[in-house]
Amino acid sequence: MERMNARLISGRTIAQGQNLDNKLSEEYYNAVAICEMNEKDMEKIGVSADENVEVRTSYGEVVVKAKEGGGNPEGIAFIPMGPWANAVVSGDTHGAGMPQYKGIDAEIEKSEEKVLPVKELMQRYMG
């Protein structure tokens, strides 16, 4: 299976905002546990819309649903801000207090693993 290198960005979307106070819901899961990519990049790794991809960085890995578009150029992937994006962002603040939420080097490939619901995702941090 083909794997690609990408720069990962996280940020707000309207559907993420509409479910800010509703984070344990299916609506939030559907809106936020996704990765928007350029169509050519999706072709490159052999993934279609709504199939799962694993996003891996030096800080962790997470499985999310691939989505087309989001205005991303090739090589840029976008995960809405939330627990799935934050599973792979860096806590290094470069002495400024701000974690690296944007511009993280990532590897992305198609995955057969399931996208964890938020409660299961949080369980990974326990123990």
């Binding site: 309207i14 106070d21 806590g91």
Partner: protein
């Protein structure tokens, strides 16, 4: 019953002209004024039903008094507590929070730390030539959104205050204005712009530098391409900036959360100053939560510093990078944390959450969220701006009073904090005996 002039407690736009239909003490409809995100908040979601304390891994419902006593016990016993959040609540609650932080020698920090904290650092470095959103509405004929996507994140911003709004000197709305969007992605905001400049990720500092040089007349030092932007496009941007009667740059997380952080903002502010050699130009951070700015105001007048304030020494110590929440948690320094009106479970890096799952955590919030999954004490609160009132600061530093539109049994944040503070003082007094 129709209630007019309701204030939206969602984002930094703080829209204050909402019309809401209330029946049987319930918001039935948002008739006017709110965007889809604000409307969603006002219409409400599932609430935390009762205070609860975690026992043997599960949350067990309890009384407010028991939860408050438990929370106070945790905070009074902690050696390095963190009190974090404060941006989706009112200034009155923030003030009590700072008093509590002083009492227990805590670090107090708000969500600016992972939002516009770098902007605050830059403003402390070089100041901020800014204005109010009213001035933007009435005067601006050039609007730049840089690393900001209001169509998704501040959905009423363009309509109420900038590109689409009709003002005194911009009576024709967007016909009288130009919109430039600078972003890595072709966002929904970029799609409606007159000019979209696609920048390479993490190259904002370079592009601000190039525009500064061009505005100051040093065309010869600018190469043919900077950060993925051609010199031709840079020159065209500068032409539009010089020709504008009043320009404004709104900047967002694209600039603060990327490589360079506060240095990017310093350069953005210096670019604005360079534009002053030609015309009127202003710059403003797109503050996220409706009162993220308010906490920075209250914290500054109470401690001298806007966020990430360490009160453990008996005086205020401010050093973001050391005293900021992410750094404290990644260093595994905190031994207890209180989170109010925020959700670090969803919005902090995994590395921070790993430490939070090992220390006692108190959550004060109207809604269950990922933080509830590891919180040891959960205290439900009234929804500020719907069930309780208070003061907040809009992104342009204008204070606005939130209204209460329905009654509730839940306690407001301010009252919960006052009770915790009272209980902490009682414990400490007893310990001192």
């Amino acid at each position: 019953m129709e209630i007019t002039d309701v204030v939206c407690a969602l984002c930094g736009c703080v829209c204050d002209d909402l019309v809401v239909e209330v029946e049987d003490n319930e918001v039935k409809k948002v008739k006017k004024g709110a965007c889809s995100v604000g409307k969603s908040k006002l219409m409400g979601h599932g609430r935390i039903k009762s205070p609860a304390i975690r026992e043997n891994g599960s949350l067990k419902e309890c009384s407010y008094d028991d939860a408050i006593k438990k929370a106070a016990g945790i905070l009074a016993a902690a050696r390095r507590p963190l009190l974090y959040g404060w941006s989706s609540t009112v200034c009155e609650a923030d003030k009590v929070g700072i008093e509590l932080a002083e009492e227990i020698g805590a670090v107090i920090d708000n969500t600016a730390s992972v939002c516009h904290g770098p902007s605050v650092l830059a403003i402390q470095d070089v100041g901020l030539p800014s204005c109010t959103l009213g001035e933007v509405k009435n005067r601006a004929d050039l609007v730049i959104y840089w690393g900001a996507n209001p169509t998704d994140a501040h959905a009423n911003h363009m309509k109420r205050y900038s590109y689409i709004s009709k003002g005194y000197w911009t009576a024709e709305g967007k016909k009288d204005k130009k919109l430039i969007v600078v972003d890595v992605r072709e966002t929904k905001t970029a799609k409606v712009a007159d000019v979209f400049i696609r920048i390479e990720q993490g190259k904002d500092f370079l592009v601000f530098s190039a525009l500064r040089a061009l505005l100051l007349g040093y065309e010869d030092v600018v190469p043919e391409e900077v950060g993925g932007v051609s010199k031709k496009d840079l020159l065209e941007t500068v032409r539009l900036m010089k020709e504008a009667k009043f320009g404004i740059t709104f900047f967002g997380m694209g600039v603060t959360q990327s490589t360079g952080r506060h240095n990017n903002i310093v350069n953005a502010i210096q670019m604005t100053r360079a534009a002053h050699t030609h015309t009127k130009f202003s710059i403003m951070p797109m503050r996220g939560h409706y009162n993220v700015n308010g906490f920075n105001q209250v914290c500054t007048w109470e401690t001298g510093y806007p966020f990430s304030v360490d009160l453990s020494r008996g005086y205020a110590w401010y050093n973001p990078g050391e005293t900021s929440s992410t750094d404290l948690l990644v260093r595994r320094e905190c031994d207890a944390a209180l989170f109010i009106a925020t959700d670090p479970g969803a919005h902090f890096p995994g590395e921070s959450i790993r430490h939070l799952s090992k220390i006692p955590v108190i959550q004060i919030d109207p809604f269950a969220n990922p933080t509830t999954e590891f919180a040891d004490v959960v205290i439900p609160a009234a929804i500020s701006g719907v069930e309780s009132e208070g003061s907040v600061y809009r992104m342009d530093n204008i204070p606005i009073r939130l209204r209460k539109v329905v009654d509730t049994e839940y306690l407001p944040d301010e009252e919960i904090l006052e009770k915790i503070l009272e209980e902490v003082r009682a414990i400490r007094e007893k310990e001192g005996e």
